[in-house]
């Protein structure tokens, strides 16, 4: 039940062997929806738990930002996964993923309006009532904004965190992507976020395409994102930072180099 600390990696079946052999690893994340709760958890996760590695269930389909009330069955599943893995916390996104009976297939941004803040806070509070552990909320990377925002990003996020008491899961690559695509200063946003409420960080790679920076999770982490990670940790270092990779998995040596680069940027011990 240790809270996340140090350098972690997103556990995925494709890299389970690699993750199992990281000697210094103390922290992974697993996609909550991929864990069955009817039987025992996947063997690889059980082995990590037995080694004392903290496993945080990371939900991607709760749709907390949907206008409709969050589906109690989805919250119950997330709660069951947290219990099954003896997780100290769970995480989800400030986003919606479905509406009007259609699945978007991805995390979509909310309008930064008071109406949307009311809707997502109501859902977070509903989820908190049924979760056995605290929830950390992750602001997403979005390629577009709604046309009628009433709040800027920092005010929007602070309003949600203040009203719900939730922790923050800050994704440095998302902060970078949004700032790049909007032409804003990522450090100005960091200056206004409650860094002391960050449960852990996410960091991932991305790529340029069609005039936008895409947070792909399938490319290496660029130097700009690593610099932003180092800047953030120089201001106030959160307890942990987790590398997300979701496809085009590179050779083990390359992944180890990325984990080491994350450790160096944060000043954490290497886990490789």
């Amino acid at each position: 039940m240790n809270p996340p600390h140090g350098v972690g990696i997103g556990w995925r079946p494709e890299i389970a062997g690699f993750v199992a052999e990281l000697p210094g690893l103390r922290f992974v994340e697993v996609i909550a929806e991929s864990v069955p709760t009817a039987g025992p958890p996947p063997d690889d996760l059980v082995e990590l738990r037995e080694r004392g590695v903290t496993v945080v269930p990371h939900g991607v389909r709760l749709s907390l930002g949907g206008a409709e009330p969050v589906d109690p069955a989805r919250v119950a599943h997330l709660a069951a996964v947290a219990q099954l893995l003896a997780a100290p916390l769970v995480s989800e996104h400030i986003a919606f993923v479905r509406a009007g009976g259609l699945e978007a297939g991805h995390l979509l941004p909310l309008p930064r309006s008071y109406e949307a803040v009311d809707a997502i806070c109501a859902n977070i509070i509903r989820a908190q009532a049924d979760l056995p552990v605290p929830i950390a909320l992750e602001p997403i990377a979005a390629l577009f904004d709604w046309p009628d925002d009433e709040l800027d990003e920092a005010a929007f996020l602070n309003e949600i965190l203040d009203r719900t008491g939730a922790l923050l899961l800050l994704d440095v690559a998302n902060v970078y992507a949004n700032a790049r695509n909007r032409g804003t200063d990522p450090l100005a946003l960091l200056d206004r976020l409650p860094l002391e409420r960050v449960a852990y960080l996410h960091v991932a790679g991305g790529a340029e395409g069609g005039g936008f920076y895409h947070d792909t999770h399938t490319d290496p982490i660029g130097p700009d994102v690593l610099r932003l990670l180092a800047e953030l940790c120089a201001r106030h270092r959160p307890p942990a930072a987790l590398l997300e990779r979701d496809g085009h998995y590179p050779a083990a040596a390359e992944l180890r180099t990325e984990l080491d680069a994350v450790a160096a940027a944060c000043g954490f011990p290497v886990v490789t």
Binding site: G100, L102, G105, A142, L143, D145, N181, G247
Partner: protein, 170 residues
């Protein structure tokens, strides 16, 4: 459900909102309208910058192509470098039914116009022998023995075990 005008009726059921409607539209209807734009070929909601919205739509389709390729690796491999373009063109105004069903629907559509590559035909034959799929509901595992025949490929399933008996005609 959502108020009229932005429900799940898809592309044709979502008229463009007038300024008055926009002012009174609820978060639910506006979210529904946005999702329909992104995944079902609906018209862009008023006020959104078209460039970023188009980029998001394209990114969603690329992500979906990747998911389908994980469920249908032979179909994707058979189409080679044309896979992404082929899938994205086909999927642009079709909401997803999940990677398994999307790939299934595409494979059947390609087969119907004799454009399914041999590898895709073999993969489809195996799936047809393994599951019953009516194109609407989630595929269900067959309980009795079955043959799958697609473009010369024949797969047989007995007691849940599937074997490709004959490869597809190249």
């Amino acid at each position: 459900m959502t108020p009229a005008g932005a429900g799940p009726d898809g592309p044709t059921g979502t008229p463009a909102a007038t300024p008055v409607e926009k002012a009174t539209a609820t978060l639910a209807s506006r979210q529904a309208e946005l999702v329909a734009t992104l995944v079902a070929g609906g018209p862009p909601p008023p006020g959104f910058a078209p460039g970023p919205l188009a980029a998001a739509r394209a990114a969603l389709l690329r992500k979906r192509a990747g998911e389908v390729a994980r469920h249908w690796p032979l179909l994707a491999a058979g189409l080679g470098p044309t896979w992404s373009t082929m899938f994205i063109e086909w999927a642009a105004d079709r909401p997803t039914g999940g990677g398994l069903r999307d790939g299934w629907d595409l494979a059947r559509a390609l087969h119907a116009r004799t454009a399914l590559p041999a590898l895709g035909a073999e993969e489809l034959a195996v799936r047809e022998a393994e599951f019953r799929y009516d194109g609407h509901q989630a595929p269900r595992r067959r309980r009795s023995p079955a043959l799958g025949r697609v473009g010369g490929a024949i797969a047989v399933q007995v007691a849940g075990r599937v074997r490709l008996l004959r490869p597809a005609r190249p």
